[in-house]
Point group: C3
Chain length 337, copies 3
Amino acid sequence: MNFRGAHILSVAQFARQDVDKIFRVADRMEPFAHRRQVSKALDGAILGNMFFEPSTRTRVSFGCAFNLLGGHVRETADVDSSSIAKGESLFDTARVISGYSDVIVMRHPRVGSVAEFAEASRVPVINGGDGSNEHPSQALLDLYTIKKELQSQGGTIDGMSIAMVGDLKHGRTVHSLSQLLLLYKDIRFTLISPRELSMPADIVDRLRQEGHEVAETDDMESGLQDNDTVYLTRIQEERFTTKLEADIYRGRFRLNQAIYTRHCQPNTVIMHPLPRDSRAEANELDADLNQHPNLAIFRQTDNGVLVRMALFALILDVEDKIADTAADVGWYTERRF
Amino acid sequence: MNFRGAHILSVAQFARQDVDKIFRVADRMEPFAHRRQVSKALDGAILGNMFFEPSTRTRVSFGCAFNLLGGHVRETADVDSSSIAKGESLFDTARVISGYSDVIVMRHPRVGSVAEFAEASRVPVINGGDGSNEHPSQALLDLYTIKKELQSQGGTIDGMSIAMVGDLKHGRTVHSLSQLLLLYKDIRFTLISPRELSMPADIVDRLRQEGHEVAETDDMESGLQDNDTVYLTRIQEERFTTKLEADIYRGRFRLNQAIYTRHCQPNTVIMHPLPRDSRAEANELDADLNQHPNLAIFRQTDNGVLVRMALFALILDVEDKIADTAADVGWYTERRF
Amino acid sequence: MNFRGAHILSVAQFARQDVDKIFRVADRMEPFAHRRQVSKALDGAILGNMFFEPSTRTRVSFGCAFNLLGGHVRETADVDSSSIAKGESLFDTARVISGYSDVIVMRHPRVGSVAEFAEASRVPVINGGDGSNEHPSQALLDLYTIKKELQSQGGTIDGMSIAMVGDLKHGRTVHSLSQLLLLYKDIRFTLISPRELSMPADIVDRLRQEGHEVAETDDMESGLQDNDTVYLTRIQEERFTTKLEADIYRGRFRLNQAIYTRHCQPNTVIMHPLPRDSRAEANELDADLNQHPNLAIFRQTDNGVLVRMALFALILDVEDKIADTAADVGWYTERRF
């Protein structure tokens, strides 16, 4: 695809070479995200960071990525209750807001809303999450993390094995990540979930059609064996009819240090899209793994900044100007790890 | 008036030459708003964008205008419930906040609050809307749009004809626009509204005293004839005692393609302060006109950025420094229209 | 202490020389805060301004201080209801958010939360207030104001006299200020409060152990005599079980022009941490003193910007680079006083 001026609405729009390109640009963003250099590539540009559903982390991640390229961020952090109450259409909102910025990130609770918004927008739009539908930058940062983690072990995405665990029915991230993995070869999937929360059949079918190996199970202990990566998810309580129904499944699949040692390979990468539910009754990924070197969950969110910088750079066509505008950083930038 | 360091609280403070000056400066803002050039005129300055009432579009428009001049924006997007609950006076809020910024935009639900705030502020204040009272930058952008639209047809504000349609009793924008039009000559007004929602008598009287022609009617079809501009408004539901009362009038006056073709001149400019109410029961301006070349509603919001940039430039006295600090833009800036 | 990369969590972490250092750096921030010069020392740096409890003034003050040093500000202005509802731990929030910024300011309603957050953060954290516990930048700006006010009268903190008035039991600011004053010598404290709202005994004891003179009284008129500074506080209604209980004390101690003239020294400095409660039933500091030259309450909030700039400069180790990156200001910067 041609990224210049493009909307980023769905992982379905990417070919493998597109993903490769995003990742190559993301790699080059590291000196800026790690505060070794400052970029002015987007000095004077404005991001419209429109979050019509609360999401502190994703909102701040996009805003930070734009600042790191030198741009300004204008934003909204909540439902636009005033406009909705006054009956404004998404078409009108898009026409108006797109007159204020160079690129827009939009999150909205309704499925399809961001595509509808992008249709009317005069500037490029990135989908920051439209309900249970899509959140493409999350899928990209997940895949980018898998690539980097496996690379550091001498592995590749092609030929890898991955266990996905938890609420695979409602989890937007495992759906999108699976769709991106369709672009790669010979992956072995182990899908671990309660039967009632299993991965939608059409996704499983497509994975198999593309030649991947898919096993489904509700037995976590056997499922965890022999995987390069284990991707855990939270019970998506907000997608259930009642909290009671969600409670049935909460806490059923848990990974902690003891289970990891007993059932996983010694270097299995541990991932989670966050937030993880750390309450005692859920606790799908125990804090006793917090210091584990293969726990990649915070590298995931760090990589999110790189991937979002790459998307901005590609859409606004400055990926080749970033090095020219780079300057050294003069303040304290050590990080505690 | 002397703009340097001035508060902008009401359209009543402008003479015709002041409006002309704002519009001349607004014209010069186009290369920046259209992202052909970047300005650093306010590099390091801080806008206090204080919205004590939700208003995503106006808030983002002011913030964007300030960013386009190179400045930082600090803001609040909601009622300051904590301070109000603790009994803080507007005087104190103004003294404190004005120590943080170079200029303040303030929106507040109470009539007169912004003037009271400005009295105590140590820096210039722009009224971003104080309840049903004033919203001067909206009136300026409306008039600036009329001027540019008529100009492109070879016309002028002096001698033009305008129909104002809808809730003329509660509509803050039609009141303020009428007041600005007092500064011009020989305008023919057609005021189309339910009798109960007609334009306040004092405004009509003043228009006539200044030599303008004013006709009032509740018949839309005849009223639409022979106008250069038609300015539609929404039923201001929030100003009625009950939703039921508002429902009586909602949907009574509607403009769509068929009515436009039948009753308007072929090049009548269509305006609306937005948001327009697109729900079926209201729909005062139909989406079937969205592609019409004379639909100026999104040019209005675009012009809002120019007018707000001009106000900041004049108040902070940098209007003559903008060209000197201009640089070319290096990122993707094409716009879809 | 070594400020470079340090967390600022409590006034207890400062020795007298640390406070002196902060104040020396704060003095050098005046040309920037007063808009005579612009600094680029933190150009490209990002502040994560995380307010998980509403506080317009403190949030904007920190953001403005960072902008004045040239940095970007990413922020949240409200409880992160989504993450809390999803069961995210402070550890996870800290790991994630600290990947987005160079320094974090955090306010949170729970005592101890900011220290817990800082423990997991990979970047320096400043406590912007954790419930009834600590708000160190407020105590620093109070003390900095006392120092500057007394200095202009030829006085010093050592040997001064101060009356603290009002709700001394719940007032976080008087507790923290007292703790900082432990670092100085020979201070005479007059603590004026209802008996039920008197200063906690452990604070009084420590003051006396360090050689300070402490008198406690519930008689305001006698207590006001012979003080260099009087520090008024609001009844902290939100810390009482019921509003009714707070009402018993509200309005009991009031300072106005008449009382000041009758009972205070002619140059007693009047302070208040703000917001002051200006409702008739409370009104602990009357508006008839608003023009009094010794009313320092708005100089306090102005000084807050200087002190916060100093903290950022010290933590991020740019205090010696600020002069090098300074440029002249080209816009209107006169202030009304």
